[in-house]
């Protein structure tokens, strides 16, 4: 069986095994190793800090794809009460790669849509590895329109390696579904908070990432193309992905610098998967902060602000404009 841990986590996992072993031995022999165990725990924290202070973009891609990484339903379960999932696009089917529904968050009723990945082989198939199909995006659109009708804020959790890649997705108009979802989100008169929680890759990600605020977890990535696909095109070698992950500027820091996101939500030491509870608290607090700020705006202000938020994104030379760059400082 494949390791559930990343290569970069190996020193941490080894220390944890050692600590567990000591604890078991202490218990079975009725001995007191607490001083030694404490020293090892401290050492483990040092090691983790050292490793996570220096993650490469490729490390972050691995973190975003970590088999233990919390998925949309994990956050919904940890953050929300009264989650009611809705199903189907009323035209063709129900896509497991996108969940959509209503729930209560901090007492407020909200719509939540999210890309959903599977944990085991069977669930991965049902979830299609988190790659939304046209019917998934149309289901999300249906729920978002309903949210707007009932005045409910929308929380969109993005975690996808890209849109569904298959003849079936093409036959049912994956392009149109992605395009339409973006246009729809630009017109809905309720606050929309987007959080890139893991992978934010390509058209499959931007399909549900048009919001008033776009936030990113610390180890998530956001990119126009997967590093592997980029490497295949540039070098005809997907193994060069570590290199292209650097060149494509896809980390949360890069996205913030490019003006593509408003805020980075820090993850617990070692990543979101090491402390779902702490991660959810931080995520919930960030969502709450932005939703309550947006709720003071009129629907017209909200739409204008959202339009202008994306309108200004781009980096080009406009001799007629007062500023050379349309967005913030170049990278």
């Amino acid at each position: 069986m494949l390791s559930r841990w990343l290569h970069l986590e190996q020193p941490i996992v080894e220390l944890e095994e050692k600590i567990d072993e000591l604890k078991r031995f202490a218990a079975s022999e009725n001995l007191d190793f607490s001083a030694k165990i404490n020293r090892l725990e401290e050492h483990k924290c040092d090691v983790m800090r050292r490793i996570f202070a220096d993650l490469s973009p490729w490390d972050r891609v691995q973190m975003a794809r970590h088999p233990k990484r919390p998925y949309s339903l994990d956050y919904i379960g940890a953050l929300c009460s009264d989650w009611v999932e809705l199903h189907g696009d009323r035209a063709f089917g129900d896509d497991g790669a996108i969940v959509a529904g209503f729930a209560r968050l901090n007492g407020r009723s909200v719509a939540v849509i999210g890309n959903q990945k599977g944990r085991d082989t069977k669930e991965r198939q049902i979830r299609n590895f988190g790659q939304p199909s046209p019917e998934g995006l149309r289901k999300a659109g249906r729920v978002m329109e309903m949210a707007a009708r009932f005045g409910r804020p929308i929380i969109s959790l993005v975690d996808t390696p890209g849109a569904a890649c298959s003849p079936a997705a093409e036959e049912r108009g994956i392009s149109e579904a992605i395009a339409h979802s973006q246009m729809l989100m630009s017109r809905l008169k309720v606050p929309i908070i987007v959080v890139i929680i893991g992978e934010g890759c390509s058209g499959g990600a931007i399909a549900t990432a048009l919001g008033d605020r776009v936030l990113m977890l610390e180890h998530a990535y956001y990119s126009v193309i997967s590093p592997e696909a980029c490497a295949s095109i540039l070098f005809r070698d997907p193994a060069k992905a570590p290199e292209t992950s650097q060149q494509l500027k896809i980390t949360a820091d890069d996205a913030l610098r490019l003006g593509v996101i408003e805020e980075i939500i820090p993850e617990p030491l070692g990543g979101a998967h090491r402390d779902l509870k702490a991660m959810s608290v931080a995520l919930g607090a960030a969502i709450e902060k932005h939703v309550s700020a947006l709720e003071t705006l009129s629907p017209e202000e909200l739409l204008e602000g959202r339009y202008q938020r994306f309108r200004k994104l781009g980096d080009l030379d406009d001799p007629q404009a007062t500023t050379a760059h349309l967005n913030g400082a170049p990278v």
């Binding site: 298959s166 093409e170 392009s175 395009a179 339409h180 126009v224 593509v260 994306f310 030379d317």
Partner: protein, 270 residues
């Protein structure tokens, strides 16, 4: 060379190289003059050759007046080899980037029109492309002009990374604004219309018109074949395939395209 062949060979050298054009689809040698008269389509198999952005606008409209010609690309990621590739494309096409837009008339009716140039880095959409398309929709809304776009593109421009991805959202939102007015948007899908562009404004036309044989889709056939280890039929993602699957409204040969567009605009506006 045989003595008999020598004079023939000598005469061949006098023939201009561009006198005939070979159809890549049926291999027929077409007389270039006739081929140009046929708007760069094959008289034998009706294969539609790709057109540059200026040619495209020229065959569809009159009185073209370019908008936003001064917009020039940057290099937001300092992406390796982006600048030399782009400079080569600029020299080849004489344009600053892959998108040409402006005002024109179509059978006398004022319109806003844009066309992408596949010859400029695969007609890819970066910041300049996205900005020009967004301004096209905004200005059309201001001046009450119907909008036509003709795409020929491989999708978003990888070398501008997230900035390219954001153009998908930006242009889709611009179509959303246009839709609040009674202004038609007709999207003309020419070979190829793929990926990030097809998954944004190009799919959002009130009417989607394709040229025969144009490849239209999101993920390229080769990528799907590699990922799923399957073999796809040759016509996968052709205009005819998309028509059969309900994804486009009509397929119109190039010679009839202008007439069809004028007819549609008239039905919606007059």
């Amino acid at each position: 060379m045989s003595p008999e062949a020598a004079p023939v060979a000598a005469r061949l050298e006098e023939i201009p190289a561009n006198l005939v054009t070979k159809c890549p689809s049926c291999n027929t040698m077409l007389v270039t003059k006739d081929w140009l008269r046929d708007l760069k389509t094959c008289a034998r198999c009706s294969h539609h050759f790709r057109l540059g952005a200026r040619e495209r606008i020229a065959i569809l409209t009159e009185n073209f007046e370019e908008w936003d010609a001064e917009l020039a690309p940057h290099d937001p990621l300092q992406f390796p080899d982006y600048l030399p590739k782009r400079s080569a494309a600029q020299i080849k096409t004489g344009a600053k980037d892959s998108m040409l837009s402006g005002a024109a008339t179509l059978d006398g009716r004022p319109i806003a029109i844009a066309a992408s140039d596949f010859g400029f880095m695969g007609g890819s959409m970066g910041s300049v492309f996205g900005e020009k398309i967004t301004r096209l929709f905004e200005r059309a809304l201001d001046e009450k002009r119907p909008v036509l776009t003709a795409t020929s593109t491989g999708g978003a421009r990888m070398q501008e990374g997230l900035m390219s991805l954001m153009q998908m959202a930006k242009t889709s939102a611009a179509v959303g604004r246009l839709r609040e007015e009674k202004l038609p948007f007709i999207s003309i899908l020419t070979d190829p219309s793929m990926a990030g562009v097809q998954a944004s404004f190009a799919s959002l036309g009130d009417v989607l018109v394709a040229e025969p044989g144009a490849m239209i889709g999101f993920t390229g056939a080769r990528v799907i074949e590699q990922n799923l280890r399957i073999k796809l039929p040759k016509d996968f993602q052709s205009a005819e395939f998309q028509m059969a699957h309900g994804q486009i409204d009509m397929i119109v040969p190039r010679a009839k395209l202008k007439e069809s567009l004028a007819q549609l605009l008239s039905l919606l506006l007059d």
